[in-house]
């Protein structure tokens, strides 16, 4: 409750500061729009420019990308427990691939998947699978030895150890990784959507931002950011906090 109050106070303060800076007029209005203008852009975005549909489209891509990324990250990190050889290789692959910017992969991605949803999802997956794998693997390696020994003693096989011991025991890392992955997915998606604009299957919020920027409608850009932030709040406080409460906090593994 007190947290919520603090957060609301903070958000209001940021808005007030924004408006005051705007009123002072030291920045060109075109670049630093008033709150009112941003709000209008938001309304217009939904009522006229199809921002709602674009947001849904982006969310659907993120859902797909996240799903693929999470599943792959779990499978590959899990395999790295099962086989030490695989671990040493996959650890290197993660360290290296994580460095490669999505744009630099584009030529290969286009070659492989053509231009369309597939490539966008590939870029999203690329932006989340490595940091998530890293979180998961680091978490796995920090699992207290005694849980693993306990698990082995109870007769768990390699796969059983992964699902029965490693994953719950490193759940704090995993959740941290999923949160990072979620944020990365947004960023990856938006940069991909800016490059790929619209495809036959639709346009997303990244394209909306691109168009607004191209049209020098900065208020529109901020309106789109507000949408992203609103979704972020819902997911963070609706989904992640709930998961945390139902797991880590209940288990006494996090405060």
């Amino acid at each position: 409750m007190k947290n919520l109050r603090n957060q609301i106070v903070f958000i209001v303060a940021v808005l007030v500061v924004w408006q005051v800076v705007y009123q002072m007029g030291s920045f060109p209005e075109l670049m630093f729009p008033s709150l009112g203008k941003i709000f209008q852009s938001l309304i217009k975005g939904f009522s006229r420019d199809g921002l709602g549909a674009m947001t849904l489209y982006s969310l659907s891509l993120i859902a797909k990308g996240l799903l693929i990324g999470i599943v792959l990250a779990f499978i590959l990190s899990g395999l790295s427990i099962v086989s030490k050889t695989f671990y040493s290789i996959y650890h290197m692959v993660v360290s290296l691939c994580d460095l490669i910017p999505g744009v630099a992969l584009l030529p290969l991605a286009i070659l492989w998947m053509g231009i369309g949803e597939g490539t966008i999802i590939l870029i999203v997956v690329h932006s989340i699978i490595w940091p998530m794998s890293r979180s998961i693997m680091d978490g796995f390696r920090a699992v207290p030895q005694i849980y693993i020994e306990s698990g082995k003693n109870m007769g768990l096989g390699k796969l059983g150890l992964v699902t029965g011991i490693y994953i719950p025991a490193s759940f704090s890392y995993i959740l941290s990784g999923i949160r990072t992955g979620w944020a990365r997915a947004w960023r990856g998606l938006i940069s991909a959507e800016m490059i790929f604009g619209t495809t036959s299957s639709g346009a997303g919020i990244g394209w909306f931002i691109f168009m607004k920027r191209t049209n020098v409608d900065i208020a529109g850009v901020f309106a789109a950011l507000l949408v992203i932030i609103a979704i972020g709040i819902v997911v963070e406080y609706g989904v992640f906090h709930t998961i945390e409460k139902m797991t880590l906090k209940k288990w006494g593994m996090s405060r």
């Binding site: 286009i110 790929f196 604009g197 619209t198 036959s200 529109g220």
Partner: protein, 303 residues
């Protein structure tokens, strides 16, 4: 390559994938899409897939991969691509747009006034804006690369932000940014580009993959006809066209009409300047080599 998949379907529905960019210069493409002109000009069933991409590089890569059949983009990336060996040809120019060298600095009246510490923003190194600046530099300063150290590459809107906030001194840009920027009272044109790139020279070109051109002549022809029809529509029904186009650009129809009526804004399949640009790029290290001839990089519809 991939084009087999996208152009020859198992049934009798033909397929074509068209990529273009975003902005006023691509108006004919918007009209083609809105009015279904390719479908209209093709004798049979055809499925047209439209994608918008934001950079010439991505279009070049799509073309080189065989994923894209038809594309529209700036003339400079086309020259880069065609000399690098991407299997495509120009089937016609799409548009010319006004270009201006803008400045926020009252002391700048020509390139000679641009001192080392003054930055010039262009959308991209090797972009048409950069080449135009180089052309002007060659003419005035004797060296196409004389101003290279002043350059910063930023997208048009970023460059405009930079120009308005004083982070750069000049920007070489195009419509509609020149109109928007000049609404600000501190920004004016520094020097005209007419001497090197007269109004009406080509800016955006339409491309067709060799594969489509050679193996699917009916589709190719439909694309050419549709492009021509769209241009005719724009040129003959300016107000109606402005009504359609203004939504995408997010301005009023009057503003759009004003932009379209600027003498520098021309939609025509046979605009001049392509080879001038190509040769200049080859001579001044912007491209590895010049194309053999205009004929070698174009189809008959462009000539």
């Amino acid at each position: 390559g991939k084009s087999q998949k996208s152009t020859q379907d198992s049934g009798d529905t033909a397929k074509v994938k068209i990529a273009y960019q975003y902005g006023l210069a691509y108006a004919p493409l918007t009209i083609m899409q809105e009015q279904g002109l390719i479908e209209k000009n093709y004798d049979g069933d055809i499925e047209v897939e439209w994608v918008s991409l934001n950079s010439g590089s991505a279009i070049n890569e799509g073309m080189a991969s065989g994923d894209i059949d038809v594309a529209c983009m700036g003339i400079a990336p086309f020259i880069s691509g065609v000399t690098a060996g991407i299997p495509y040809k120009m089937y016609g120019t799409i548009a010319a747009q006004p270009h201006e060298l803008l400045t926020n600095d009252d002391s700048i009246h020509s390139l000679k006034d641009i001192t080392d510490d003054k930055k010039i923003s262009v959308v991209n190194v090797g972009s048409i804006q950069h080449i135009l600046l180089a052309m002007l530099a060659k003419e005035e300063l004797g060296d196409a690369h004389a101003l290279d150290n002043n350059l910063v590459a930023m997208s048009h809107p970023d460059g405009m932000t930079a120009l308005m906030s004083g982070s750069v001194a000049c920007q070489l840009t195009t419509a509609p940014y020149i109109f928007k920027a000049k609404e600000q009272d501190n920004i004016k044109e520094a020097e005209s580009l007419d001497s090197v790139w007269p109004e009406g020279n080509a800016f955006i070109v339409g491309l067709v993959s060799d594969d489509l051109y050679e193996n699917q002549p009916e589709i190719y022809q439909a694309v050419v006809d549709a492009t021509q029809e769209a241009m005719d529509y724009i040129n003959n029904n300016q107000e109606e066209a402005a009504n359609i186009l203004c939504q995408k650009e997010d301005v009023t129809a009057e503003t759009m009409l004003g932009w379209m009526q600027d003498p520098g804004c021309v939609y025509n399949m046979k605009l001049p300047g392509v080879m001038d640009m190509a040769n200049f790029m080859a001579e001044n290290d912007f491209a590895d080599k010049a194309p053999e001839s205009f004929e070698a990089i174009t189809t008959e519809s462009a000539r």
